[in-house]
Symmetry: C2
Subunit: 456 residues, 2 copies
C-alpha cells in the first residue's frame, strides 16, 4: 500500500530529479514521472528553474500525463512550460482536460496564440470553453465544471442507473442533478438514494426539491463560503432563468479557500496579492513590493516633519527622542492586532457588517485597558531607563502610551470596516496603512502632550 | 427552490430573532428555527449575548435539531449553551451526534460532568467515544469519524449493494472501504464502481489497492494538506498495524484549513491563536493580547536605552531624532513582508525547508534593491524635509535606510525558518518579534552610522 508522501520525501525526490536533470538521464526521469503522483511533481517543480520545469514537462510520457500535471501546476509554471509549445501540441494535451481547465489555460495566452489554440480545440469542447471564458474572473461561471451528470425528472430509477453506467468514468459525480424538459434544475438525487430506491420509481418522486444554487455571476468566494458552511460536496450553477449550467465541486472550493487565505495574508503584510511571489526573480519581487513600502515612507516623512516642527521642545528636552520608538511601536502593534481580528472576522463571516459599532467600541475598551496598564508600566520606569531627572517625564510617556494605544485600536478596527463598506478589499488596510496612520498620530500626540505638560 | 442565504439576509434574520427574543415570542422563534438551516442559526448566534444563545438552543424543537445545531456552533457557544444542561438532557442530544462530535464536546466538560455524561451515553457509542477521546488533540484520531461503511473483500457486488441498502442513511459515504478478515484495510471501491460492476464479481477484484492512509497520530494539518493536494473526499485512518479505524472527511478538512488559516493570521498579528477572540469580553480579550504587546514594549525600551546612550550626539545634531520613525518604520515594513511570505510559504508547502539558503539570499537582494532605491530617495530629500543645512545628513539617512532594509529582510526571512527547524510555530515570529528585533537593530545602526560619519 502506497503511503502519503511527506515533506521530507518531496525534498529527497527533488534532489534526485535535479541530479538526473544535470546528468541528462531522461529515461530515468520518465520512469520516476510515471511512478509519481502529479500533485507531488507539481510541488517539486516549484523548486526547479524554468529550464528544468520545461524539461520535466516535456519528459512526461503521454499527453494524458501532461494534462494531469497541468491541473496541479501553479499558474506561472503553466505559462512557462507552455510558452514555446505549438498550438497543435497544446491541443493534444487539452483533449484530456476539463473544459474549465482548458478555458483557464487558454485565457493565459496572448490573443494570437489563444486564437490558434481555440481553432484546433475539439469541436465538442469549443462551445463550453468559450462559454466559460466569457464569465468574469473569480465568478462561479469561470470556475465551474461542465463535466457532470444530469437526468430528466421523468425517467425511472432503473433508466437512471443504466444511463450512469454508460457515462464515462468521472470521479466528480457527487450528486445527480435532475432537470425538467426545459433543462431547468428541479431537484437532486444522491447516488446512494438512486441505488437504494425501487427500480420503477420516477426520479421526480425520490429527488430532493429544496436545493441551493449559485448563478454564474456569483463571486467564487461566496460560493466557497456556502459550500463550506453547509458541508456540500458541490454547488450547482444556474443562469438567471434557473437553467442548469454546471457545478462547482468541493475540491475546487478547497483550492479557493487556500488561495484566498494566502492572498489575504500577503495583502495584510503589504506585499500585494501575488500568491506566486516566491517564484519571481528578486527584481520582479521588489517591483511588486515597492508601492507598499511607499505608505510607510510617507508616514515616516510626515513623522519627520512633525518632529522637525517640535525641534525647539526637543532641543530643551532631548530625552523625549528616546521614547519615540516605544510609542509608535506599541501603537502599531495593538493597531495591527485590532485590524487583523476585524479583517479575519470579515473574511470568515464572524463580523456582522450591519452592526459594527459595538465591535469598534470593544476594541477601544481593550486599547484603553492595555494602554493604562503599559502606560503606567513604562511611565513609572521611564526615569530609570534613561537616568533622566526630569519631573513629569513619566506622566508624559504614560499618557502618550495610553492615548496612542487607545487611538490605535480605534483606527485599526475602523479602517477595515470602512474599506469593506466602500467595497475595497479590507485586507489591504492591515498592512502598511494602519501602521502608517498610527505612526503619524502617535508622534503628533506624543509631542503635543509633551509640550502641553512640560512647557508650562 | 431555496436559495443560499447571503450575508445581508443573515443580519436581517438576526434582528428579527433579537426582536422576538425581547418580546418573548417563543412560538414564533421555534417556527423560525424549524425553517432555518442550523449553519445559518450558528452564524446568527455569534451576534447574540450568552442569555440569548442559551434561549435559542432551548427553543430548538427536537433533540435531533439541537444536535444538528451543536455540530455547527463555535466551541465557546457550545460551552455556554450546555453549561447548565443536565447530563440526562445532554445524552438525549448526543444520540444524534457522530461519536467524534460526542467525544469533542465531552472533552469540553470538567471531569465530574464528563463522567456523568459518559455514564449515560448509549452503550454502543461509549467505546468509540472513549477511543476518540484518547487520541491527542489535533491528531487525525481525534477528528476522525467512525460512522463509515466497510465491506469484506470476499463478498460479491450484489451482496455489497444489499448491505449498503440496509445501512442507515448517511451522507458521509464517500468511498466503500474494503477490509480483509483481520479488519486490515486492503482496498477501496467507489459507489459508482460498485453500481456499474457485474453482480457476481468479488470486491477484491474491483477494488483499487493503492490507497493512501494516515495513522491516528498524524497531525490534522498534515491530513488536511494531503486531502487538498490529492483532491480526495476522505482519507482512511488506520493504526500502526494497518487496522481500519475510521475516516477523516473533506468537510472536516475544509474546517481545518479555515481554522488553521485564522489561527495563523492571529498568530502573525501577535494576538495568540484564539479563533473566537471576537466572542470574548474586553477584559479576556486584553488578557490574551497583553503578552504579545510585551515584545514591542521590550523592543521600545531597548531602543530608548540605545538612543539614551547616544544623547551627546543627539544634543549636537537634534535633527537626527526626526528620522527615527522612518528608519524603523520602513525596516519593520519590509521585514514583515519577508516573514509573511516565508511563513505562508511554509504553511502551504511552497517553501522547501531543506533548501532555504537561496530563499533568504533572494530576500536580502530584494531588501538591498528597495533599500538602495528608497535610501536614495529619502536621503536626497532629507534636507528639504527638515530644512536642515547639515552636510552629510542625506548620506547618513540614505545609508541607514539601505542597511536597515537589507538587514530587515534577512531577519524577517530567517526567523520563521529557524523557528520551523526548532519545531516552534513560525507564525508567531512574524508578529511582534520580527518588528521588535528590527526596531532595535535599526536604531542602533542608525546612530552608529550617524556618529561615524558626522562626528569625524
Amino acid at each position: 500500500m502506497k503511503k502519503a508522501i511527506f515533506t521530507t520525501e518531496i525534498s529527497m525526490l527533488r534532489s534526485t530529479m535535479q541530479r538526473l536533470l544535470r546528468r541528462k538521464a531522461d529515461t530515468n526521469l520518465t520512469k520516476i514521472l510515471r511512478k509519481t503522483h502529479q500533485a507531488d511533481v507539481a510541488l517539486i517543480m516549484r523548486g526547479l528553474n524554468q529550464y528544468e520545469q520545461k524539461k520535466i514537462f516535456t519528459l512526461c510520457p503521454t499527453a494524458k500525463h501532461k494534462a494531469r500535471l497541468l491541473e496541479e501546476l501553479d499558474d506561472s509554471i503553466i505559462e512557462n512550460v507552455l510558452k514555446f509549445e505549438s498550438a497543435k501540441n497544446i491541443s493534444k494535451v487539452f483533449r484530456y482536460l476539463d473544459t474549465n481547465d482548458q478555458a483557464f489555460i487558454a485565457g493565459m495566452f496572448d490573443l494570437d496564440k489563444q486564437k490558434d489554440v481555440l481553432s484546433i480545440i475539439e469541436e465538442e469542447d469549443l462551445e463550453e470553453v468559450e462559454e466559460i471564458m466569457s464569465y468574469p474572473d473569480d465568478s462561479a461561471g469561470s470556475i465551474m465544471t461542465k463535466e457532470t451528470f444530469t437526468l430528466n425528472q421523468n425517467i425511472t430509477v432503473k433508466e437512471g442507473i443504466k444511463k450512469l453506467q454508460s457515462f464515462p468514468e468521472n470521479d466528480k459525480i457527487f450528486y445527480l442533478y435532475v432537470l425538467n424538459n426545459k433543462e431547468k434544475l428541479v431537484g437532486v438525487v444522491s447516488l446512494r438514494t438512486l441505488v437504494t430506491s425501487k427500480n420503477t420509481k420516477k426520479l421526480k418522486d425520490i429527488m430532493i426539491k429544496e436545493i441551493q444554487a449559485a448563478t454564474t455571476q456569483t463571486d467564487q468566494e461566496e460560493v466557497a463560503k456556502k459550500v463550506a458552511q453547509y458541508n456540500y460536496l458541490a454547488l450547482p450553477i444556474v443562469n438567471r432563468q434557473n437553467k442548469f449550467l454546471g457545478i462547482v465541486t468541493i475540491d475546487d472550493v478547497v483550492d479557493i479557500i487556500r488561495e484566498e487565505a494566502s492572498e489575504d495574508f500577503l495583502q495584510m503584510a503589504g506585499v500585494g496579492k501575488d500568491r506566486e511571489i516566491l517564484l519571481k526573480t528578486p527584481f520582479e519581487n521588489a517591483q511588486s513590493r515597492a508601492p507598499w513600502i511607499l505608505a510607510s515612507l510617507f508616514g515616516g516623512i510626515c513623522a519627520a516633519a512633525i518632529i522637525g516642527y517640535f525641534n525647539v521642545l526637543l532641543e530643551q528636552i532631548i530625552i523625549l527622542a528616546a521614547f519615540i520608538p516605544v510609542i509608535i511601536g506599541i501603537g502599531g502593534n495593538i493597531g495591527t492586532q485590532s485590524s487583523t481580528i476585524i479583517v479575519r472576522g470579515l473574511a470568515t463571516g464572524r463580523v456582522d457588517v450591519a452592526n459594527t459599532f459595538p465591535l469598534i467600541f470593544k476594541e477601544i475598551i481593550v486599547g484603553a485597558i492595555l494602554g493604562a496598564f503599559y502606560g503606567f508600566l513604562v511611565g513609572a520606569s521611564s526615569s530609570y531607563i534613561t537616568k533622566s531627572s526630569l519631573e513629569d517625564l513619566g506622566i508624559v510617556i504614560g499618557l502618550s502610551i495610553f492615548c496612542s494605544m487607545t487611538i490605535a485600536t480605534a483606527v485599526g478596527a475602523s479602517v477595515p470596516i470602512i474599506l469593506q463598506k466602500l467595497k475595497i478589499d479590507p485586507a489591504i488596510s492591515t498592512g502598511p496603512f494602519v501602521t502608517t496612520a498610527i505612526d503619524i498620530i502617535g508622534v503628533a500626540l506624543y509631542f503635543l502632550i509633551a509640550s502641553t505638560i512640560l512647557l508650562n
